[in-house]
């Protein structure tokens, strides 16, 4: 029921929308005001447990500008039931001639997508990594190197460029078979290639402990109060002369903070969440311990609590 202007009655009358015919009809004189209305609600519902052979979707995925022709392609589908023999003999063979020029690109994109999903990365980072791979993929110098390492390095660079860096160890954990060293080398190589291509040097800032803190803390399930204190402590630690990798410093700060709170995390958990070895966390803690009073904000722990902090 809606109000619309009816030209016959020459005033606003109540109109009825007839769903079956798609007409808007004036309830007083019966004049059809609008016919052939387009229903924009969803045509069908898809459930996860239903079989995949009856998928009524008529369109493919979004067009990908990185592929030639935007990834358009036409495939000959299998006929229903019966003549599966026919298909695999002639038509099937013709279909699978392998004429797709982007075959390797598509495979690479799929690998990057798998790695990104394992890490829970958003589409922006995935797309950035795809772009980077595309720029590097047709260089001959790539062929000699480990493909997994190159893809992992593309993902690593994409994370850095989007200001959401992931440690090389985290990338290692989802890349199959690439070692930290290989990824590091591949990353240097790609950065050099990109700089040559772009004609100017790439803006990729150095990593800081603070970039990773939020994520490590949430892996460990720390309270908000503790997380804030840890972030402040890490900020202050940048001014000190501590010669350790930023990840190790982050891990040691987390250890210090959790030791001060009620919820003490064992070294093993912190080691697992950050990827830093237990021995390294202990050593970094040893370096940080003398400055504990300056690092920990007073809102989190008082002087006497700091005295309770175990000496390394």
């Amino acid at each position: 029921m809606a109000d619309a202007f009816c030209p016959d009655c020459k005033r606003n009358t109540e109109t009825v929308f007839d769903h079956s015919a798609g007409d808007t009809v004036c309830s007083e004189c019966g004049l059809v005001l609008e016919a052939h209305s387009i229903d924009e609600t969803s045509e069908w519902r898809t459930f996860a447990n239903e079989s995949a052979d009856n998928d009524p979707v008529r369109v493919g995925g979004p067009s990908n500008p990185l592929l030639t022709d935007g990834g358009l392609s036409t495939v000959i589908s299998k006929p229903n039931g019966g003549s599966s023999d026919f298909l695999s003999s002639s038509l099937g063979r013709w279909q699978n001639r392998g004429s797709n020029p982007d075959r390797s690109l598509i495979i690479a994109f799929r690998t990057i997508a798998t790695m990104a999903d394992r890490l829970g990365l958003v589409a922006i980072i995935k797309d950035r990594a795809n772009e980077i791979y595309k720029k590097v993929e047709d260089l001959k110098s790539i062929r000699g190197r480990n493909q997994d390492a190159i893809l992992a390095a593309c993902l690593y660079i994409a994370c850095r460029q989007e200001d959401r860096p992931r440690t090389v160890k985290e990338i290692c954990s989802v890349a199959n078979g690439a070692t930290k060293k290989e990824i590091g080398r591949a990353k240097e190589f790609i950065v050099k290639q990109l700089e040559v291509e772009m004609g100017r040097s790439m803006e990729m800032g150095t990593i800081h402990a603070g970039d990773f803190l939020r994520r490590f803390c949430s892996h460990l399930g720390m309270t908000n109060h503790a997380v804030k204190a840890a972030q402040e402590a890490v900020q202050k630690s940048e001014e000190l002369d501590i010669r350790r990798s930023p990840i190790s410093i982050a891990a040691a700060v987390i250890y210090m903070i959790t030791q001060l709170s009620d919820d003490k995390k064992p070294l093993k958990d912190i080691s697992l969440a950050t990827g830093v070895a237990e021995g390294t966390i202990r050593n970094s803690y040893k370096d940080l311990y003398p400055y504990a009073s300056r690092l920990i904000p007073t809102s989190f722990a008082k002087e006497q609590d700091l005295k309770n902090l175990c000496s390394p």
Partner: protein
């Protein structure tokens, strides 16, 4: 010493001559002299060599594709090359001594103050590569002279890729004022940040 069919590669050894002698400030305005650590040179013996025979007959020779280290300075490097040429001659080959050339000189030194690598990498982005996760030192690729410097937080610097001692000297004199600019001030009681710091820190 590595012997290929004609060319001989000599990797010369470590040595620590800590300079106790006084430094000529006209030559080294920074007051610091880099100490040479390694020199790699090649010489062309001018004849084909049979590696197996040399390995079996010559004393102190190992047929081992891995590098063996040796020398102390360019002159010693040349002397060693001549000695080996003589050894090869004694084994029976017609060895000559042609085109002796120093290929790589490695030196190290210490500026004696800690350095802020991150800021240096930020401001000299075009030349520097600093990845604390991968390697704790900053890699500075100088264009002129074309050498690579590894700069560490402690203030120790390694220079490599030079073809001569003069390149090392020039390279170091060029990097010294740069590194002075990024000296880390000892922080006891001093919480203040460098007023020139233009980069705002952001919390994630």
């Amino acid at each position: 010493m590595q012997i290929g069919s004609e060319q001989v590669w000599l990797h010369m050894a470590q040595y620590n001559l800590e300079g106790c002698q006084s430094v000529d400030l006209a030559e080294h305005p920074s007051g610091i002299v880099p100490t040479l650590q390694n020199i790699v040179s090649t010489v062309n013996l001018g004849c084909k060599l049979d590696l197996k025979i040399i390995a079996l007959q010559a004393r102190n020779a190992e047929y081992n594709p891995k590098v063996c280290t040796g020398a102390k300075s360019e002159e010693q490097s040349k002397l060693a090359a001549r000695k080996y040429a003589r050894v090869v001659q004694k084994v029976g080959f017609q060895a000559q001594f042609m085109d002796f050339k120093v290929q790589n000189v490695v030196a190290s030194c210490d500026v004696k103050f800690p350095i802020r690598l991150e800021r240096l990498a930020l401001h000299h982005n075009a030349f520097c590569s600093f990845e604390p996760e991968i390697f704790p030192g900053l890699i500075y690729r100088m264009k002129d002279p074309k050498i690579v410097l590894l700069i560490f937080v402690s203030g120790k610097i390694v220079l490599t890729g030079a073809k001569s001692r003069d390149q090392i000297k020039r390279g170091f004199e060029q990097i010294y004022p740069v590194v002075l600019e990024y000296r880390k001030v000892p922080q006891i009681g001093n919480e203040g940040k460098d007023s020139r710091d233009p980069v705002p820190r952001q919390l994630t």
